[in-house]
Amino acid sequence: MFTYYIDLALRSLRRNTVLTALMVLALALGIGASITTLTVLRLLSGDPLPARSAQLYYPQVDPRPALDDPSRARPMPAMSWTDAMNLVNARKARYQAAMALTQAKVMPAKTGERPFFSDAVMTTADFFPMFDVPFRYGSGWSAGEGQARARVVVISDALNRKLFAGANSVGRTLRIRDHDFRIVGVLRPWSPQPRFYAVWLGGRSYGDGDGVFLPLHTAVADKMSPNNLNCFAAGGDLNDLTKAPCIWLGVWVDLPTASQARAYRGFLDNYVHQQIALGRMHRTDVAMPDLMQWMRESHVVPSDVQLQTWLAFGFLLICVVNTVGLLLAKCLKRSQEIGVRRALGASRRAVFAQFMVEASIIGLAGGLLGLLFAELGLWAIRQQPAEYADLAHLDLGMFAFTFVVALVSSLLAGVLPAWRASVLAPAPQLKAS
């Protein structure tokens, strides 16, 4: 019976190719636009560390001078050296690390090659275990090595391939600015999207991972400057960032259970009150968003992308309404045919099923064409200068989702016309002919 409906549907669609083409095209445009924008939105608002994100927190304090109106206080998006070190050294979490981004000037090993800048993270030892960073060779440095300002470095897979042709380079030397650093670890490809740890630190939010990872204390001793530095009081000495009244470090802590998170929050409040008692701080406002919450608060996803997604789905809605109208017109035009079928014994259910099959064929065709439009749309996005452009690809999930969207929209569009067709009384239709 089902194949018979398909045959009937195909006949009916062929009878009016212009109308059929119009329905398929409209549906396909709506689906193409929706899937393109949804793919980009999903890509940008994804979870960078699905296994860990729920237990990673970003503590924030407010080191600025006293405020006349305390209700206007808001914790700062990054920390000064003193606060970051106090929190990291307190070791109240399973893992804790402070970090800042910089540009590392990598000097070539061979003469005749040009020096180049590599995106670098200056951080403390826990960075690697806390974020579950995968190593190909070697490992990170120890907390002791970091404190002792050891000249050690971890490099990315990409940099290792560029400099050492992918060989195990642990133990070899990398010259950064004027100092030799010993390579202790080489990462596997690692570039969480969004680059959650870079959000306020002056890096891009999406794209390639960093190339070089240096111990924070060593980098500060070598006077490497952070990409983003915001001073909240005048008169600081920018030559010594460990004392300047400036925020430039992001601190992340790993708190596996809810009770640990509550305890840490209490610790953070205590810390601030203790600092206020010491006269170092003046404001009590603190915050401790988890990873995804921090991504939302920092508006990592460009609002244009969200706007486009909403518009695309509005567009799809109009396309569906349009298809309902056209299907309705088509099916009423065939009242006589329906009357004949009903008179010959077809049940209401059979007529309903027949029209739903017709609608879903339009949906599938629209989905196929929509997939093509989505690929076209994503290709256009990859040509854009946006930092996430290279990542815009249709994955298997979205591929399947396209057809779900197509079928659901076409079936929704088909319900009303099919119902109208199935309740037509056969006798008047037969009489009219």
Partner: protein, 409 residues
Amino acid sequence: MNLQVKPIFSALRHHKAGTLLIALQIALTLAIVCNALFIIQQRISLLTRPSGVDEAHLIRVMNGWVGASDKDVGPLMQSDLDTLRRLPGVVDAYATNATPLSGGGWATGMHSKPDGKGKRVQTAIYFSDAHTLDTLGLKLVAGRNFHASEVQGFLPNDTLQPPQIIVTRALADNLFSDGHAVGKVVYLGKKPSTIIGVVARLQVPWVASWASNWEGNSTLVPRQMLTNGTNYVIRVRDGQLQKVLHSAPAALLAADRMRVIPDDQGVVTFEQMRAKAYKSDRGMAILMGVICTVLLAITAAGIVGLTSFWVGQRRKQIGVRRALGATRHDILGYFLTENLLIGIAGVAIGGALAVGMNQWLMHAFEMQRLSWPWIAGGVVVLLLLGQAAVLAPALRASNVPPVVATRSV
């Protein structure tokens, strides 16, 4: 024309579903098209903001010295500027940390009292010398330019508190309501800076929305940033742009090979910088335009489809009316009026939807309030679109001959 409203209503009552669908489609289309057009207009007004500089005649060269420490940079920069200013086709040149449209630079708070006290105004800092006004083509509306003797070197970790500054009119108006800024004193840190001149307009380096509230607040400081990398801004004579684009980097490299001028974005015109700075805004405007066009086309096609069907279904009735004396004109008027009535219902709902959608966009995306002319414009466009779409089927209906009434059965 005699508006046959009553028979239209009774006919539409037999086509409730179709009528509702067309009205709904018109309403949704109006809501989206109004807001999309409004977004387009906002983006266009954004990307047509003047930067205040003579963009058509300006080139930026990014330069990095190799093997020079910050202390050596002063004389190197001076000799480069001499080289550039002597080039044929060049009007003037200066060295700076940032320019409008470059997207990177120095922003800070300017205060009416020392140590960050008193009134605070956000400003961009442009490192300048006595040639800056001439090079950028800035119009001095009050006060004077820097003297060459006031221009000093500035090492990266120095504290910025120059005794003289030039500000934009927007910044002056923000700081002093009386309109007289020249001679007044402001603070970037502890020490006072005297405003010696006011220029008409100079945009900050950032075009993004976070800087939009103070996009005209710029400060020129008589300092040359002594770091390994600098930007040279060159103003050329009419018609010399292409020539200087090649001769400037060539002359710099000929004077001293120990430098890096990046292949990518190293030498650009301000027109290229503008295109790059506003690329995403332009992209958004184009995308909204495409969406509007396609939406209107789909809605029109839907109206054509449903009306054609109605015409086909009512051939017999049309024939009877014609036989009873209705003119072709009457039939045409009937379908046009019918569409107009559905359209009016649609735009009434759509107008409300558009306002609701705008409210939500204002809340979620910090959009501005949709003004009535936009909705009115959208209403007119959709009603006209409906009339145009219905014209072909309506003409076909008016051509139904009266003899149809006598056929069949």
